[in-house]
Symmetry: C2
Subunit: 314 residues, 2 copies
């Protein structure tokens, strides 16, 4: 289905090991690329992978803090420089003011982009909803709790069904419009009086899959709902449980909060990201990155700690 | 005097070898850091050196194209995060709209910076002038010719003089106010009728030094004036001489233009920077980076081609 590549797994500012926030979603069949967030240097990270800016179709922004969007103007400009004329349009989804940010930045810097940028703003009046849907995928948003309007996103691959034509034939059901009705799951009465139910002629060939990205947040029930039964929950864990107060003051999660959300949502796997730079070197608490993982695993064993360029297929 | 470290030597968009524009000036005695331009990822480049953001005092922006300033908001934010409270203020110099760019970006992204940012705008009505001066250094700007208001900058270390106190003593000149007058180079008449000239009691102990950075420009006489007798001229050379038309259409210089400016300015050394990504891989002209250097050296032999992290001491 979708491969997740972590492009930036740090919080606030880049370090040599962790860039600021960005997650790539690659559709393994089509090679098309979507992004969640776009911190400074995201285009540089992309250059270190096999990903192609020309394949980039959609960007979903969780919130407008700099470490999540300062890479957006440069990435959009480079996509234009690299691709020449006739490039496909791009869609950027995010909170109010995303449009002002892009417009002001591009106006002042006279950035010319030779393709259309469609900006889709999440409506302020709703704490959850659907922001995008196509034949195969559904993207939902849910407002989370940060010191800035912030949204979590889920991407769901829709279930796929196959019409069991051989079963229909066995029952001597005539091909044509009746097949269509059965495919749509309808109840059908034939001229000979027999009744058939669509559900008997449909087999699920692909299960729904769901990946959820928390954005920046404290413990949030809205997020638990969004992440219900997710195959993968990517949750911020800026701080160690030992710095719970600091996390709360900064409207961020600890490892344990992320693990509790994963447990309550009954997610299959949790990946921690948005790790504070403080754990990469000496700090007075003495906490190291490996400790972060242990803290979460005590509550939710199916947990991984993201690293830049880590890949995970769902 | 000053060490120049090239942080980004590419043009337009980053490549794996060349980041977008930024040049660091390090004052070898004090370790203080100034920057010329600040493309996206400049803070990442700084992390790969021994430079410290906490030592950053001044940033000079040549113009507001994205590849010269998209790294500025993130760098200023990280300086704040890293340094905590009580940090020294910073000065940012540049063209009109620099203030709007920083204000809009910081407002929309709610970036809090715990130190003062003093923005100094180059007055629109002058094509050259002094934008900063202290006891030791003088920074001049000169408008150059690009498709955007763009300025070249020079940094000049002032000459230093020593008062030859032992000579004054030999002449039995009484210490006190007369010494002061001689230090200032004045003519002095003593009560006994003798006349002395300050110039006889002053020795130059340090020559003036000058480094000039062109910004983005085509051939420009204003720049030649600014760069007169420079110890180091850093000149953009986006294109090969073989793509002269392309250079002209994009208001950029070729290698040969950079070399002609260096020759006419009688600079001691020329370093080419702002190299187009097209020369890092196959392109139809077949020109490679080493060819760029040869093109310039045929006209101005004392030429180097900048690379990211190259250092040069003046």
């Amino acid at each position: 289905m979708v491969k997740v590549i972590f492009l930036g797994t740090g919080s606030g500012m880049p370090t040599l090991k962790r860039n600021v926030s960005s997650i790539a979603l690659i559709f393994t069949n089509s090679n098309k690329l979507w992004l969640w967030d776009c911190g400074e240097g995201t285009q540089h990270q992309i250059q270190k992978t096999s990903l192609k800016l020309s394949k980039l179709e959609k960007i979903f922004i969780t919130h407008l803090h700099g470490d999540h969007i300062f890479g957006l103007p440069g990435l959009l400009a480079s996509r234009g420089l690299r691709g020449g004329q006739g490039q496909k349009e791009i869609q950027v989804f995010g909170p109010e003011d995303l449009e002002a940010y892009l417009e002001e930045t591009q106006k002042i810097t006279k950035t010319y982009v030779p393709y259309k940028i469609e900006i889709k703003i999440i409506p302020k009046d709703f704490s959850e909803g659907i922001i995008y849907e196509d034949e195969d995928y559904l993207i939902r948003y849910a407002e989370v709790i940060h010191n800035f309007a912030t949204y979590a996103y889920s991407i769901e691959k829709k279930e796929r069904y196959r019409f069991l034509v051989e079963e229909a034939k066995k029952c001597n059901i005539p091909a044509g419009p009746v097949y269509g009705a059965l495919k749509r799951g309808e109840k059908v009465r034939l001229p000979d009086g027999r009744i058939f139910y669509g559900s008997d002629f449909i087999a699920r060939v692909e299960k729904s899959k769901k990946i959820v990205f928390s954005g920046d947040t404290i413990f949030c029930k809205n997020l638990i709902n969004l992440a219900k039964n997710a195959d993968l929950l990517i949750h911020e864990a800026t701080f160690s449980q030992q710095e719970e107060d600091l996390a709360r003051r900064n409207f961020h999660s600890t490892t344990v909060i992320a693990a509790r959300v994963a447990r309550e949502a009954e997610a299959k796997l949790l990946i921690l990201t948005h790790i504070s730079p403080r754990y990469s070197s000496n700090n007075k608490s003495g906490v190291r990155e490996k400790d972060l993982l242990s803290e979460a695993q005590r509550i939710f064993p199916q947990t991984l700690l993201a690293e830049d360029f880590m890949e995970y297929e769902v």
